[in-house]
Symmetry: C2
Subunit: 342 residues, 2 copies
């Protein structure tokens, strides 16, 4: 086992001082050409690379950014991560990922861990539990310590920081409008509970679209689901006695559960009922019928978030504390779970 080479060892080996080695490697004109070349040749030969930890300590920056997300086994989040990774890498940053598991405590612990010098800034999407509690002291703490924070997707108004979101209201509205356009009259909504911001906003979009088309908003046609696990049951019970010709669901899973139930009970999709989901994942693409969805462009969100964060990190601090909220446009990907426009 050959341990890593350090400046000190090079210095001893070549019988010069540590400072000389450091300067030579950084091409300082202070060092004579001969010595400089000798040192550089030696370092190259033995593949010297400066120790990141020492550099981080010295420079007080780690060149790594921390991502904290509720879960990773979720297509949307992985696309965001790959977006972040991409621009982070291009800019010479590393990415360190922590999962909150949708637990408030884990989110706090992870954040405190990373805040103690491990990262220069954060990109986060909040845990469900955090939003429910409304306790954001850890975010405030980090910001007040001068760590830039970019929230995405699951954001919260009370926190002043940069944000990358999609226009959930508009996305939902466009989806429901499309259902109206293809002739649906009784459109159901399958959403999550309101304290998850996206649930609330997408519900707003749904309502808005109906109102704009002078359709009545019937509370009976709205289902709010709390736990992923109970979703299939709830959706079955919900659809059992309803006559609907359109369904807007706030994610792929709800949409597919609905389709399954419908098909098992003699309804055809899209002939009898048109269904639209939210978030464009593998499932939507390959399900039969393939799903019409609102696409969230996770990769773009990740790229955007990383760009904003790094920009903040590289700017001299103090000046111009402006926070931006970037809205990434949603698209409606039309596939086979909706009738085509007449």
């Amino acid at each position: 086992m050959r341990p890593k080479l350090t400046l000190k060892q090079i210095a001893k080996e070549l019988d010069v001082s540590i400072s000389t080695v450091s300067k030579a490697l950084r091409d300082s004109s202070e060092i004579g050409e001969e010595t400089r070349e000798k040192i550089k040749a030696f370092a190259k030969f033995y593949n010297y690379k400066p120790n990141n930890i020492a550099l981080s300590l010295k420079n007080r920056k780690t060149k790594t950014i921390g991502i904290i997300i509720p879960e990773i086994v979720h297509h949307f989040f992985t696309t965001v991560i790959s977006g972040v990774e991409k621009v982070a890498n291009e800019m010479g940053y590393n990415v360190i990922i922590c999962l909150s598991d949708n637990s408030f405590d884990k989110e706090v612990i992870n954040m405190e861990m990373l805040a103690n010098g491990s990262t220069d800034g954060f990109i986060m999407s909040l845990a469900k539990e955090t939003m429910q509690k409304g306790d954001y002291h850890h975010l405030i703490e980090a910001i007040s310590q001068g760590m830039p924070l970019v929230l995405f997707d699951r954001v919260v108004d009370q926190i002043l920081c940069d944000k990358v979101i999609i226009d959930d209201v508009l996305g939902a509205q466009k989806a429901v409008q499309h259902l109206v356009d293809i002739g649906c009259k009784r459109i159901a909504l399958i959403s999550t509970v309101d304290y998850v911001s996206v649930g609330k906003l997408r519900t707003q979009g749904y309502t808005l679209a109906l109102e704009e088309n002078d359709l009545e908003v019937d509370e009976d046609l709205i289902l709010k689901i709390e736990e992923m696990e109970e979703s299939e049951d709830k959706i079955e019970r919900f659809l059992r006695d309803k006559e609907v010709d359109g369904i807007f669901a706030v994610n792929e899973h709800f949409a597919i559960s609905a389709i399954k139930y419908l098909q098992e009970h003699g309804k055809r999709v899209p002939e009898d009922v048109s269904v639209i989901g939210f978030t464009d994942g593998e499932l939507s693409k390959r399900f039969i019928p393939s799903l019409t969805t609102v696409s969230q462009h996770g990769t773009r969100m990740g790229e955007e978030a990383a760009r904003i964060l790094i920009e903040k990190l590289e700017k001299t601090p103090g000046e111009d504390e402006q926070y931006r909220t970037v809205i990434v446009e949603t698209g409606l990907v039309k596939r086979n779970s909706t009738k085509s426009l007449k």
Copy 2:
């Protein structure tokens, strides 16, 4: 903006030396009770937390482990990550993730970055390009520097290190055996090219199962796919003029493409053709018909890999250089894409 508290500041504030503060916070008996309590109270009040970077430098360990995987937008890898995360967190480790994008160069760069002090060890699955080139100098380099390495899934015999794999041969064999058991006679294989180890091994399993049942191995019934993008085309062309009653595919996507083609051409699954995939993802579960698959237990692989790595990290180095290869059992999850046993 209030910058982070350091030992030095506490020392100045309380008019004691830095060493005293450090010792007091670590409950050293060297420090008088009164002083100790005073310091601890102060630190607690201002929420002092030691700087990770400084600790890393001092202790020469970072308490973080690096994961390098080919891609993250892939259900199997995310389950592995969440497994690693879980046990890493329990043991007080952080996880830093890098993506190689299946590129050899990116893999090398990422690895060198992380090896310069950022992590204590690696958990990796090799990039396709790396396996193709057969160039593993970066792995050897890391190992020779004393960084433990655990390979999983896409591993390679030439490298001496711990490994976590599934028994691809057996998994495939069991799958094909099941097809035989339910009465299939002409079983096709849709696989990836051989230099990806899993492609080769699963092909072996396929062959083995056929031979054991005295069925002929017909090269005409074997398709090897190089690029994900061309898979649908290739599968369609492959199936066009074939009479098969069973298909074993080495991943979900190939399986589903096959089913799609069959259904569009008047065959029923599973009545006319039974299909089995490999890797149990969201898609398999929710596709209609839901897919019978060989489940890889990614979470368990991640947990296992993390456990092995951390064990290595916490053992005093030098002694007992034994490398293990853990084989995680596969399971056959029977769903609706295969006929049931008579």
